[in-house]
Amino acid sequence: MNNENKLKFSDDALALSERMVNRYPEGKQKSALIPLLHIAQAEFGGWLSSDAMDYVASILKITSIEVYEVASFYSMFNLKPVGKCVIEVCHTGPCWLLGSDDIVKYIEKKLSIKAGQTTADGMFTLKTVECLASCGTAPMMQIGEKYHENLTLTKVDEIIHECKATVVEHVTHWTKKEIR
C-alpha cells in the first residue's frame, strides 16, 4: 500500500463499510469488495483512482491487484474521471426498437459530445449502456440512482435542464446521502 495515500473515507462511509464487511463470515471479508468500491466511487468524486483502489485494499486487507482486477471487470466502475452527471442511455434491442438511437443522437447533438465523452465544463458524461431491465418502459436512461423511463426528446430536455440547474457535486450510483 502507498504510504503517501491521503485518501480516507468519511466517518459515515467507514461505518457503512464496517456494516458491509460484517455481512460475511469471519475471514471472508473480501466479499465486501464490490460494495466498498461503490462507496469509494461516491466518496472520491465519481471514479476510482489507483489511490482509491489501494485504500479499499487496505481496508479489506487484500492486495491491490485483487481490487484492480475486480474494478476493471464491472461496467459501473469508472477508472477515469467522469462528469458530474453521467448519462447512461440503454441501447440494447428492446430500447433500440423504441428509439434509443434517436435519444443518443439527440443528446450528442445537444451537448456537442459523442457517446463516451465528457463535456468541456465537466458537467456531463454520455455513455451508452447495455440492458438495464427497463424494456417495458423504453427508451430509458439512468443518471445516478434514478431511472428515467418512457423518454421523449422533451423529457430529455427537461432532465438535462434540471441537472444543470441543481447538480453541484458528482451524482454517483451510491451517493453520500445514502452513505449517511
Binding site: E66, T92, G93, W96, L97, G99, E130, A133, T154
Partner: protein, 448 residues
C-alpha cells in the same frame, strides 16, 4: 382471467410495507413452513412441479434435494436478482412493488435447506430497488421475522443484500458466486456444482427471484394444488415481461398454457401491435432464445396453436421452435429490421462476454463486426455464411451458456430471415429504406 398467485396483491396501496403485507396474509406461508419438517417443504416444492424461472427451467425441488449436507459445514441459499437478460424486467417489478414476498420466500427456502445465512445478489444498477429491499429487511428484523429464533421457531436466520456492479455474466450461477466472493464474474468449470461446492466452497443453492417468490403460494396452497395449474410439465403461473411494438408493455402473470396469439392480441395482455401495424417476429424468452417469425410463433409447424409453456414454445426444436427462457417477450412489428436488432444483441454479448473462453470472447466480437459491415452496406453473401460458421463454432464450446446465448440469436435470424440479410448485401440501398430505428411520434425531425 387467469389465476394470479404472485401478483394478486401487488396493486394494494402500501403492500411494500410489512403491516399491509401481513394484513393480506403475508408471512402466513412462512408460519406454516416453520411448523413443517424441512424435508416436507422440499417435498411440496417437488410436487408443485415448479421449474426455475430464471431461464433454464430446471425443477426447483430437485435442485433443492441435490444440496449436500456435510456435518458442521454451513449451507447457503442465494437469490439471483441480477436480472440482466434483454427483454426481461419481471424481477425488478416484483422486488420494487412487493419486496416482502421475496423475503418470505427466502426465509422458507433457507429453513427447508438448513441455511442460517442467505444472500440476495441484486444487480448494481437497481440501487433504488436495493433500498426498497433493505427497508423491508429492516422491518422484518424488527418484527422478529428475521434474526434469532424467527417467529419463535428456534430457527436463526440472517438475510443480507449484496450489490453487483454491472455484469450480465453474473446472472450465471457460478459467476454470481465468484462475484459474491469479491472476484471477477468468471463462471466456474462444473462439476463440482454449487450444491456440493458453492459460495466459499460450501453447499449452495442459487435460485431466481421469481422461483423463490413462487415457493410462498406453493406452501400456502400445497404442491398438488399448484401443479393443477398449467399444462403437463409446465405447472403454475409465469411472469412474462412484454415489450417492443405492443400497445400494452408490462409484466403479466399468466397461467402456463395460454395461447401465444391470445397473449399478443388480447386486451388483457399485450393488446396487439401498436400503430395498427402487423406482427413480424417475436423473441419469446429473452434475447438469448431463437427469434421466430409470425407464422411460427403463433402456430406450431403442424398448424396447431402454440402455447406459452416450456414444451410448446420449444416444439420443433430450433428448426421451428424456440424457448420460454426467462419470459422476456420482445415483439417486433412489420417495419423492424431483424438484422439491426440482431446487431444490438450481438454487440450486447460481445460487451458481456467475460473473456475466459476464446470461442465466445473472439467469436462475439467477430459477429458484431460482420453485422456492422453488413449494416454499413459493405456485406457480401460470404459474410452471411461466415456468421453462420462462427456461431456454430461458439455453441457448445464454452464453460458457461453465454456462448449459446450469443450463438442462438444469430443462427435463428439467419435461419428464418436469410432473405433480409441477402437483400442488405445485394441491394445496400434497401438498408436505408428499412427502418433502422423506430421513430417515436414525438421525436422531431431535427434528429437525423
Amino acid at each position: 382471467m387467469g389465476r394470479k398467485l404472485l401478483t394478486e396483491n401487488i396493486n394494494i396501496p402500501g403492500i411494500q410495507t410489512l403491516e399491509v403485507y401481513r394484513h393480506h396474509g403475508g408471512y402466513d406461508g412462512l408460519k406454516k413452513a416453520l411448523g413443517m419438517s424441512p424435508d416436507a417443504i422440499v417435498e411440496e416444492v417437488k410436487k408443485s412441479g415448479l421449474r426455475g424461472r430464471g431461464g433454464a427451467g430446471f425443477p426447483t425441488g430437485m435442485k433443492w434435494s441435490f444440496l449436500a449436507k456435510p456435518d458442521g459445514v454451513p449451507r447457503h441459499l442465494v437469490c439471483n436478482a441480477d436480472e440482466s437478460e434483454p427483454g426481461t424486467f419481471k424481477d425488478r417489478y416484483m422486488m420494487e412493488h412487493i419486496p416482502h414476498l421475496l423475503i418470505e420466500g427466502m426465509a422458507i427456502g433457507s429453513f427447508a435447506l438448513g441455511a442460517n445465512t442467505s444472500y440476495i445478489y441484486i444487480r448494481g444498477e437497481l440501487l433504488y430497488v436495493y433500498h426498497i429491499l433493505q427497508k423491508a429487511i429492516d422491518e422484518a428484523y424488527a418484527a422478529g421475522l428475521l434474526g434469532k429464533n424467527i417467529m419463535g421457531s428456534g430457527f436463526d436466520f440472517d438475510l443480507h443484500l449484496h450489490s453487483g456492479a454491472g455484469a450480465y455474466i453474473c446472472g450465471e450461477e457460478t459467476a454470481l458466486i465468484e462475484s459474491l466472493e469479491g472476484k471477477r464474474g468468471n463462471p466456474r468449470i462444473k462439476p463440482p456444482f454449487p450444491a456440493i461446492q458453492g459460495l466459499w466452497q460450501r453447499p449452495t443453492v442459487v435460485n431466481n427471484v421469481e422461483s423463490i417468490m413462487a415457493v410462498v403460494p406453493i406452501l400456502k396452497m400445497g404442491g398438488d394444488e399448484y401443479a393443477k395449474i398449467g399444462v403437463g410439465k409446465s405447472t403454475g403461473t409465469k411472469l412474462i415481461s412484454a415489450c417492443g411494438h405492443i400497445n400494452k408493455p408490462g409484466v403479466y402473470e399468466i397461467e402456463l398454457g395460454l395461447p401465444v396469439e391470445e397473449f399478443i392480441y388480447s386486451d388483457e395482455y399485450c393488446g396487439g401491435i401498436r400503430n395498427g401495424k402487423g406482427l413480424k417476429a417475436v423473441v419469446a424468452g429473452g434475447s438469448s432464445v431463437p427469434i421466430l417469425p409470425k407464422d411460427l410463433i403463433l402456430k406450431l409447424a403442424n398448424g396447431e396453436p402454440r402455447l406459452m409453456t416450456y414444451e410448446s414454445l420449444s416444439d420443433g426444436g430450433f428448426i421451428t421452435g424456440t424457448m420460454l427462457g426467462s419470459g422476456g417477450f420482445i415483439v417486433m412489428d412489420e417495419d423492424t429490421s431483424v438484422v439491426k436488432n440482431l446487431y444490438t444483441f450481438t454487440r450486447f454479448y460481445h460487451h458481456e462476454s467475460c473473456g475466459q473462453c476464446s470461442p465466445c470472447r473472439e467469436g462475439t466480437g467477430w459477429m458484431e463486426k460482420i453485422l456492422h459491415k453488413i449494416l454499413d452496406g459493405h456485406g457480401t453473401l460470404e459474410d452471411v455464411d461466415l456468421l453462420w460458421d462462427i456461431q456454430s463454432k461458439i455453441e457448445g464450446k464454452t464453460i458457461c451458456p453465454l456462448g449459446e446465448a450469443a450463438a442462438w440469436p444469430v443462427a435463428s435470424a439467419i435461419r428464418h430471415f436469410r432473405n433480409e440479410f441477402e437483400e442488405y448485401v445485394n441491394n445496400p440501398s434497401s438498408i436505408k429504406k428499412d427502418n433502422h430505428y423506430y421513430r417515436l411520434n414525438n421525436i422531431s425531425s431535427e434528429v437525423a
